[in-house]
Structure formats: structure tokens, C-alpha cells
Symmetry: D2
Subunit: 383 residues, 4 copies
């Protein structure tokens, strides 16, 4: 390793605390200057630039995972790269292991990922080695007893994995969850929310029970987390496919994100043309995959985000929903831009619509089917 | 209309009761022979040949609707066509209006759809005209007071629409649902089920609380309906896009189907290769669309069903889940055919896996990204 | 039919000549005012607003058809609707039969399509009936003997179908083609062209043999037609699937469009990121289908065109190609925005690239495959 | 490196000749036993098990490349793995560099890829180092003067790349091509072929000029290569995107494959339902990508091949085509299983088809468009 400034993504946990000292040991890194600790409040940025696009996309990985960790990574990387540029650093270092989703966000810099360097991972075979190293070097380590699993928490979600959770048939302990209440102990009465969207993102939430109302992005999200958390919303226990080809078991709780997914799905279907929606949903699947795989900063993800955003221009209106015992129920919706036409669809009114046309429509659709069956010798007695 | 035998899909409701008499009036139809009423129990066939393929597909239309009505139609059509062939009929008649999803299943026969024939729909402008006609012709009609909405019930679900539900912002009345309990009144303790799958379909369900166990297809489905119904599972309120281009509001309850969707998603992800799954999920979106649009009996739906079925060969294993207050929670899963490798994924064991490889993997993935950013003049200070 | 102004898309052929008089006969139409014949030169608009987006998309229907007729229809419709609006017309009429691709472009207006109206098509069973009618009403008709097929010509292509061509195994007559020379009689030396693109559309073409150069959109396209026509480029004989479900045999010649497709494919792959390109190609398939089916003026086609256009921002550069005996050969390309990196790809230089990484990349890609084969008991002797 | 038997994929060229000796030098490899040279004729297997599935798929990578090299790799790997298993080898070695498409086919074995090992690639910086090493060790090397590009030839194609071709704007030298004649010097009269397909693969080819006929898979392919080669068919010059993210320039000639692609496209569209075809074409794009990226032996490629094969059940019939000056022209086709219905499509016959239906079909398709435009305030003067 050549000499130069290293910017380390430091969580304060055991791993990165040890890495900090280990990097210093490696000579090239030189002196650690304590003034250079940057602590930034990225919460509003995280909500507006990362969670909101995911809401617009209805982003769900493998039909279930709402991407809480995946969305946070590019947000952190962006900040990390900013710091590295400002500091004219030569290296970026992080504590991710070789088995988690690698991230391509920092590719401008040389990366030092000790958990992928033999000198490091052969020296520190497990937690005990790290503890011993910490003690020897006077590294302060978290004193809380270690849970028999690992967790990753951010504004959007908490994920739990490894340890006793690695056995995919073991049930999650009741006391695992920190962000959501156990639905069994959740209130016996629902909260009813009204959420207003503009261009596919929430711009206001009101609780109809107590008239609480929020309209700043971060406030909206925090409030939905609070309500969702109170009612035990957004817990899932899944096995997912990591980018690097392993299956891994994860337990997640994403209270606010789960409410928003349901609310956005509803207002989107209400206001968007169905064929546009089909195309957009295909792009969303791609988006979710890209985000999961660490490709937020890629030309294809830029492109897909642009297209999805374009699709949201008319996604505007208000939904009412209730939150209760772990569930979100849509109750109703309205929009100045809906393609829903009550008169057209009504069974009691004929409106502009000629029922005869349906017969022509069906017969034309059947032209092809008839030929196919004719060929197969499956024609009816009559024909 | 030329003369000939008509087979009418008769529900016993007001519409088809009137159509029955009206068809007779039209002369060509001739005498209605009372012996020719066919009542068939299609429940097992419905479950095995229509619901099971939907379970294998994780079939969901527009991310939310589980296709209860759409799956029943080809099952009914098949039976209808069988009767028509046996009876050497010339026409098939049904009471579907021009605004609902037209069905291409019966295209071998000439269809008489009175609600799409001006002579009929101009004569019967609304319910009152039908009532009057029924009275005049001595047609017995349902005496139960008409709910201010219409519903369609089958083994898989009940759908509610039109009437007061046509206003998309109106909330569903509390007493609307017939198949599921209100989650607020559901039991305060969960049921825990164990469901075993083979080739992607459930072959056994056991209730761990009372050891109830079912292993015939119809029994399994009925039992899941019972448990799901008891806990208020599977209620949704959506606006969907009909085949004919209208948006329409529907409320559905699909208790057993909702449990199976969650269970199958889990065992499938656990046992199926991730890339196969991606391709298969694309086919499933197509499948759902085809079923919704009435193309069950089409070459493309045959093809897609074949491919999906092929993908299910190794979808085998058992999931445990709890059902509580409207929610289904996956608790754990095991399988003799899982691609999950506990040792491989473990954070505590290195196994066969060399963490160095992850760095090479990332760097190769970044080759393309680097070139892209180089071109955009976005290179880092260092490069 | 109620009274009101009709705008008729009039080609001057036998069909629309007769329709003109027949419409007058129908009473409601009233007087035909001869001053109201609008002849508009839509050529530049056709090239810039319809052909260019197709070039950006690499639009090809069912892998072979370059959509010459399909692209012209929305261009004509737009003009027709403009006239109809200006004239405050109530109806639009056209001579399309019921078996050709119906077009949804004019849906604001009531359409009078005589070939789909029983009164008309039952009266005029064939060409002879029309001829007789024309004679009786003093309608001047084309005197040229009718070819035993029908053709549709525009700036982009000529299509030939029906008549003797309806037998799909019959060969096209040698003298069929009007826009391209028979390759057997084409020049024995190629023309070499240089085409420059900006944002995915050609902005200049130069013939390296004689230095002819064009840079206005219409001129470029006309010149490519001339060169392509001279060398017999762009002839195809296909069976295609019409929107309405029939298979139909068509013979097309699209000289300039074929050259542009090859040239654009080349410059696009040269300048566009590969993952963006994959997504964009999926959108292009959709675009081609929409255009073929008559949905140019639809929300989904608007959306797709927007996305495709976005993808073209960096599609810029120059290709050289030769045109000879029906073929287009790419010879070379250069671009200020290419992602091609000669040093990176070179076999003789190592550049920034570490060959070790490839091994890590492969091993990570194989993690999943190894698990799959392990499960199948297919492991190697060694493992 | 641990000791054990190595199986080397040996081409006889300079690289693998040196690798052979170098491996021996590395100690662990031990003695090279000369009896163990396996030369196998894989030609028929290559055609039947690799080229035929590609023909069924219409496999084309990035719209242009017919995958000649990519298809040969799994064929070679299969044989290599067979030998390695038979010989109870521990390693497989090959001469591929780090910049070419890595192949995941041999993942059961430990791979020794010297061009990705620093000890090797740092020692042999270029061709000269290898030559010197060869001389020193008495390794016989090809005496033919080295062309200023590299080539890879197999039964299906020859590819040319690197060297002077690395400049993407340089034209290919006239004397580059070895498998196809220069179209300028090709015969002045076409050959006309008749190719018969069953289940999507060619089962017979007949030259209508001289009645030559072939019906064994390998013979058919060789004959098509001969005819295509004679007429200069299948030359392309492209820039493609490699799996590892680089753009690379390649020149290919694929005479027989190009004829088959055109012939198969035609018979497939003639016999396959259009909606099946759309789904199948999506799978084919995936298939081409997988093959290109070296994933022939993967669960997803198995799955996709199975689905594509299923789609070919009715792809049966005969096409006539002419081959001339680099071009393939379809002339006609017939099939006992075509969905083409001459009577149905005829403009002169009405057949079973009611033109009225087309109007209903259009109006229903326009329901959605009308709502969309209504919302945008774009309604016509009349509405």
C-alpha cells in the first residue's frame, strides 16, 4: 500500500474501531488526526434523495424486501466521497465483510476493505480476536452485551441477521424488534391517516384521530415510522438472494416505508394509465435490483430513476388508510388527476360507452385464438 | 338469430333468470327443456387446475389483486363448453355486461350476451325493468333485499363493487365482508400453521395449536379459508385497470389465497435459484395479466403455464407461519432442496469462500462505471 | 348518422373516390364543397417527428419490419385531426378496411369507416362493384391497369401485399419493386457513406466517393433513399402478425431506413453504456409494438418515446459504411463520447486493469452455480 | 498450489504451448505424460447441442453478434470437464486472458488461468517474451507469420480482434476474412436454397440449382457454411459490450449461421402464435446474454433453453431463400402447421370475419385513450 490519506466510514462499533487502529499500524496510513472526525446529519437527504425515489418506484426486492439497508448505502457513500474529495484523500476504507452486498459507489477511490484482505481476516478470525486486540490497544468498545445476531439500523429500517438467525427455520425471538411493537401488544384501535401525494411523493400526512399533521419530508417519514411502529407494521422474515449469489436470511422492520408503499401503490394505480404503469413496473423491478446490488451510482440507475420520475408527473391525490395490528388498510382515495371515471364505469349508467363494442372487441381478440385451435383440430361441433 | 340449442350460464340471480325467459321469447331459441339443468361441483377442479397454477405463479394483478374472479371464469367456461359440446348446442349465453372483463374462453361457440345486444339493454335500463319483467312472467326472484353494491362469490374470494362503492373515496361499510372477520374482532391469539409444498403446490397443512391436518387439495384450501377468515386475512380495497381500459374500484377478500401467496413466495425464494426466479417472476406478471384479461385458454397462457410449472420442480419444503389480526407472518422454513447454505453465508465461518474474490468482483463490476464517469469528467481528485 | 362536416382522408384511388360520392349519397353529409381540398407537404414533419424517433429506437417490428406504413399513419392522422379541428368537422372518414391495422389516433372524432359498415361492404363486394359505381356516378378513376397486388407508398417505404402475394409461398415478381434496384443489376462498386449523429439522429451524411453532402433532415433521408435504392438495399419478404390477430404476408422496401438502422445501431452501441442499452432495447421492442398497433398517440407511447429520447443524449459520433448489392457494411466509427477505451481493452497493454480481478469475479459468479450443482449431486470428483 | 493432475485446454498456439511448459515448471504439476493428449471431434455435438438451440432462439447478442465464440466455449468446457473427471484431475487450465469473457463452465474444478496470475503475466509482458521462452525451452511454435490481429476460428465462425483492429475507426483489411468470399468477388448469380425445419431446427437443405441435398445436422451446417461462404454472407464489424464491462471491437463472419437465422425467423413467425412469439423473444434476449456471459451451464440457462424448446414444437415447414452477394433473401414459405389463413387475411374474401367487429375493437381500445386526453383537456371541438 502506498502512503496517503484514508477516509474511514466509522460506525463506532467493534469492527471499525479495530480497523481504525489497524490501519494506523499498517504504516502507510500515517498519523490519525483526531480533528478529522466528520459527523453529518444525512437524515433529510436520505429521505428526499433516496427513500422518496424508492417510494415512487414501489421499490421492493424479490417481492418482499423494502431495501432499507440498500438505500442507505449510496447515501453514506455520497457523503464519504464528498469528505474524501474535500480532504484530498487517496483511500476509502470500510468495515463491510466479503459476504455482504458489495457496493460499487466509491469506485473513484482505492478501497481498503480489511475484511477482504488476507492479512486482516486471517488475523482476526472472530469476535474474540477483535476484543483482545481492542483491549491490547486501549480501544474503547461497546459495553452492551452482544446480541446473538447482528443488526443494522437506520432511519428507514432495522435489519437483523446472522448468529442464531442463520438457521432459517428458527423463529425470531419475541424481543428482537426495536422499531416496531409486537402486533399482539399494539393498540386495540386503529389510527386513520390521510396522506397526500404530489409527483409521486408524500407532501402531507394527517392523523384523522388527533389532527396531527406533518408536511416536511423528514417529519412525514418520522411520523409514519412512529405510527407504523406503534401498530407493529412492516415486520418481515425472509430468505433473500444476495448479489454475490448466496441465499441469506434476514428479518426486517420498516414501519413508515411499509405504509408509504401501500399508499403510493394506491394513488399511482388511481392516477396512472394502465399501460404506462405496466412499463413503469418493469422499470421498478430493475430499479430495485440495481439498488440492492449497489448500483445506485450507475448510468443505468440514473436512466431508470429518470424514467420512473417522469412517470410520476400526474401521481397526485390523497389516500385514507388505517393502521392496525401490523396491517395497513386502504380505505379510499381521491385525486384531481385520476383517470377513474365514475360515470363510465358505472353499472347503472351507460354513459358514452356502447356495450356492442365489447362484442367486437372480443371477437377480434378471438381471431387469433380461433386460428390456433382450428389448427389443433379442436374446433367446436358447430364449426 | 338462427335456431339452435342455447346453453346458458345460469346463476339463479335476477339477471340470468330474466335472460332465460327473454331468450325463450326470441323465438329462435325454441322450447326450454327443464330436464336440462346441469349443476356440477367444480370445487376440486377449481382448486387443482386453476388456483394451484396461480399459487405456483405468485399470481397478483397490478401488485395487489389475487385474481379470484378471473380464475373462476375459465373453470366455469370449461364446464360450460363441455356441456355445450355434449348437448350439441349452437350458442352459449351469459349475463355478463359490456363493462366487465370480456372472456375469450368460449370462442368456439356463438355467444349470446344480452347485455351487449341493443334489443336487450335498451329494453332493460335498470334493475326495476328486470323486476317488472320478472313479475310479469312469473319469474321467481331472490327475495333478500338487494345490497347497495354487487358481489361475486366463489370458493376463492368474494368481490364487491359498484353501487355505493363506485365512489372511490367512500369507505367500505363495516358489514360488507362475508368471508372474513373484522380484524378488530378477530381472536387475540394467532394460529400457527405449517404448510408443506411439493412442486410448488401445497400438499399438507397442519395447525400447530390443535394438530388439525389436511392433505387433499380442496380440504387444504377450505381449511386455509377457514383460518384466514377467522383472523380477517386478505381484505383489500383497490382501484384496478380493467382489460377494456376503464379504472374500476373493487373490494376483495381472499383469505386462503393470501396465506398461500405468502407461504409460496417464501418456499420458492428459499429453493429456487435467483436468476431463474427473476425470469420466472417476469413470466408470472404476464400470466396474471393474461388470466385477468380472460386469456386462460390461449397459446401464450398455455406456454407461460408450462414454463412456470417447469420452474417449480424443486419448490419443495415446509414453512411455518402465524395468522393474526389480518396479517400473515412467516416464522421459519426448511427444505431438502434449498439452495440456502448456512455454512457459506455464515459470518462466523469462512467456509469455501475467499473474501478476496469480492474485491475482484467489485472491481470488475466497476470497470464500466469508471469509464462512464471518466467520460463525464467526473473523475476523483486522485485519478 | 347525424348531420355534420366530414373530413375524408382522400388518396385519389378508386376506394376513396367512391367513398367520397357514397358519403354524399348518405344524406347527412350534405354538400361537398370543392374548395375544401387540403393538400399538405408533410415530408419534413414525417422525417423529423416520426422517422427520427424510430431511428433512435432502432424500431423493428417482429425482428424484421421497419414500420414504414405504421409510422406514416400517425403523421397523416395528426394532419387530418388538425384539418378537422380547423374546419369544426364532426366526422373523420377513411378507406381502411376492417382487416388492416386499426388506428386509434383519431379517437376524438366519430369515425366513418365505410369498409366496416355493412351498408357499404355488402353493396361493394369487390373491385368490379366499385368500378361500376364509379362509372355510373362519373367518378374519374385511375386508368393504369391494376397490378395483381396492392401497394402503399410513402417517403419511407413501399409495401406490397394481397392479390397474388397472399399465397405465402409464391415468390415476389421481379418487377414488383419500385423504390429499389434489383441487387443483381445494382452497380458493381459500393458507395461509401459517412453519417454523423447527434442525440441519436443523423445530422449529416457525406458520400466519400463524390463528396455529396446533406445536412437537413429531409435531405439526408431522401439522399439515403437514393443511395439505398440504387444499391437495392432494404428489401424484405415476411409474414407478420397484425394487431387484430391475423398473419399476413407483406413485402417491403425501405432503402434509407435500412441504412440508418445499421448506422444507428453501431453508433449507439459505441457510445451507450451496456446496461442502459439493455433497458432501452426492451423499451424499443415495446415502442415498435405500440407504433405497429396504432398507439402512437397514447400515454404509454409518449412515455416510451420520452425514455428513449433520454437514452440518446450521448449517442453522438460518425460511422463509415459501404452500401453494395443490397447490403450495408459497417466499416468504422468514431465518437467524442464513446465509452470505448482502446487502452483498457487492448490485449497488449495492461492499463488500469488487474487480471487477477477477473478470477475473483468469476469465482463470485460461480458461488451460486456451485450451490446449485452441489444440490443436484453433480459435484466434481474433487469436491 | 497443491499437487495434482492438471488438464490443459491446448490449442497448439504460442500461448498454450508456453503454458504447458510453464505449468510443468511450477512444481506441483509434476510430470507431463505425453500419452494423455486427447483430441476429440466435437463437431456434430457442437452443431446439435449448441448451434441448434441458438437457431431455435434466434440468438443474437446486442442485435448483431451471432455468438460463434460463445457457443463453442461450453462445448469445449464440457469435453474438458469430461476428460478431467475421467482422469480424476484436480485442476483445469486454459490460456484465456483476464480481459476476455470469463467462463463459468468449469466451476467444479480449481482453475489455473496463467494470464490472470501475477507470476505469469508479470513475466510474460508480451508476445516477444513468450517467443523467447519458447525458444529457450525448445517449444515448437507456429511458423506462420503472425497477422497484426488475433483470430478465433471454429465450425460456426471466425472472429478477428485486437492488434490493428483495436482502433474502432480503422477499416478491416480486405484480406482479413478466411471463411467468406468478398461479396464484390462473389458469383453474379444467386444460389436458391430450400430449408426444411422440424421443431425449430433444420432437418434438410436442398440447393434448387443443382439438387444437392443434405439431411444430417453436421452436413447441413457445413453445406450452409459453404454456400454462405461462397456468396460472402455473414460479415459484420461491430463494437460489443463484454461481460466484464469493456467495449471491444470485433469482426465476425458467420456464413451458415446467418442463413439459418433468417430462415428460422421466417418459419417461426409463420407458424408461431404472435403472443407466444413475443414472450419467447424476451426469453431469447436473455438466452443470448447468458450464452455471451459464459452461463450456458447455469440453472437459468437450463430453464430458458427448456422454455424456448417448448415454444418450437410447431415450428415446422419449408422456406425458400436466395443467397447472393452477401445477402439472404426470403422468397417464400409453406408449412402444415402455419397459423396463416389465406382466406381470413384476404382482401377479396370476407370469410368468417365481420368488419364491424374492428370498429368495436378500436372503440374499446380507445376508451382508455379518451379518458387520458379528457383529463389533459385535449378533447376535440365536438366533445
Amino acid at each position: 500500500m502506498s502512503k496517503g490519506t484514508v477516509v474511514l466510514a466509522y460506525s463506532g462499533g467493534l469492527d471499525t474501531s479495530c480497523i481504525l487502529v489497524w490501519l494506523k499500524e499498517q504504516g502507510p496510513v500515517g498519523q490519525i488526526r483526531p480533528r478529522e472526525v466528520f459527523i453529518e446529519d444525512l437524515r433529510a437527504e436520505f429521505v428526499e434523495h433516496f427513500i422518496w425515489p424508492a417510494v415512487q418506484a414501489n421499490a421492493v426486492y424479490e417481492d418482499r424486501y423494502l431495501l432499507g439497508t440498500s438505500l442507505a448505502r449510496p447515501c453514506i457513500s455520497r457523503s464519504l466521497v464528498d469528505v474524501a474529495r474535500r480532504e484530498k484523500a487517496h483511500f476509502i476504507s470500510h468495515g463491510a465483510t466479503g459476504k455482504v452486498r458489495p457496493d460499487c459507489s466509491c469506485f473513484f477511490f482505492q478501497i481498503i476493505a480489511p475484511w477482504r484482505i488476507p492479512e486482516f481476516y486471517n488475523r482476526f478470525k472472530g469476535r474474540l480476536d477483535l476484543m483482545e486486540y481492542a483491549e491490547k490497544h486501549g480501544i474503547p468498545v461497546p459495553v452492551t452485551p452482544k446480541a446473538p445476531w447482528s443488526m443494522d439500523a437506520n432511519l428507514m429500517h432495522i435489519s437483523y441477521e446472522s448468529g442464531i438467525l442463520e438457521d432459517p427455520k428458527s423463529h425470531a425471538p419475541v424481543d428482537l424488534y426495536l422499531m416496531t411493537k409486537n402486533p399482539e401488544e399494539a393498540p386495540n384501535a386503529p389510527d386513520v391517516l390521510e396522506i397526500t401525494f404530489r409527483k409521486g411523493v408524500p407532501v402531507k400526512v394527517t392523523n384523522l384521530k388527533d389532527a396531527t399533521s406533518k408536511d416536511a419530508a423528514l417529519d412525514i417519514f418520522l411520523y409514519l415510522n412512529e405510527i407504523g411502529g406503534r401498530h407493529g407494521v412492516g415486520r418481515i422474515d425472509i430468505v433473500e438472494n444476495r448479489f454475490i449469489g448466496m441465499k441469506s436470511r434476514g428479518i426486517y422492520e420498516t414501519p413508515g416505508g411499509t405504509i408509504l408503499l401501500q399508499a403510493h401503490l394506491d394513488i399511482e394505480t388511481f392516477t396512472m394509465d394502465k399501460e404506462v404503469r405496466r412499463i413503469k413496473q418493469g422499470l421498478s423491478v430493475k430499479f430495485s435490483e440495481l439498488v440492492y446490488n449497489g448500483f445506485w451510482y450507475s448510468p443505468e440507475c440514473d436512466f431508470v430513476r429518470h424514467c420512473i420520475q417522469k412517470s410520476q408527473e400526474n401521481v397526485e391525490g390523497t389516500v385514507q388508510l388505517s393502521v392496525f395490528k401490523g396491517q395497513v388498510y386502504l380505505l379510499g382515495r381521491e385525486s384531481p388527476k385520476s383517470l377513474y371515471n365514475e360515470e363510465l364505469v358505472s353499472m347503472d349508467k351507460q354513459g358514452d360507452y356502447d356495450p356492442c363494442d365489447a362484442s367486437g372487441f372480443i371477437r377480434i381478440n378471438a381471431v387469433r385464438l380461433r386460428e390456433y385451435h382450428r389448427l389443433q383440430g379442436l374446433s367446436s361441433p358447430k364449426n
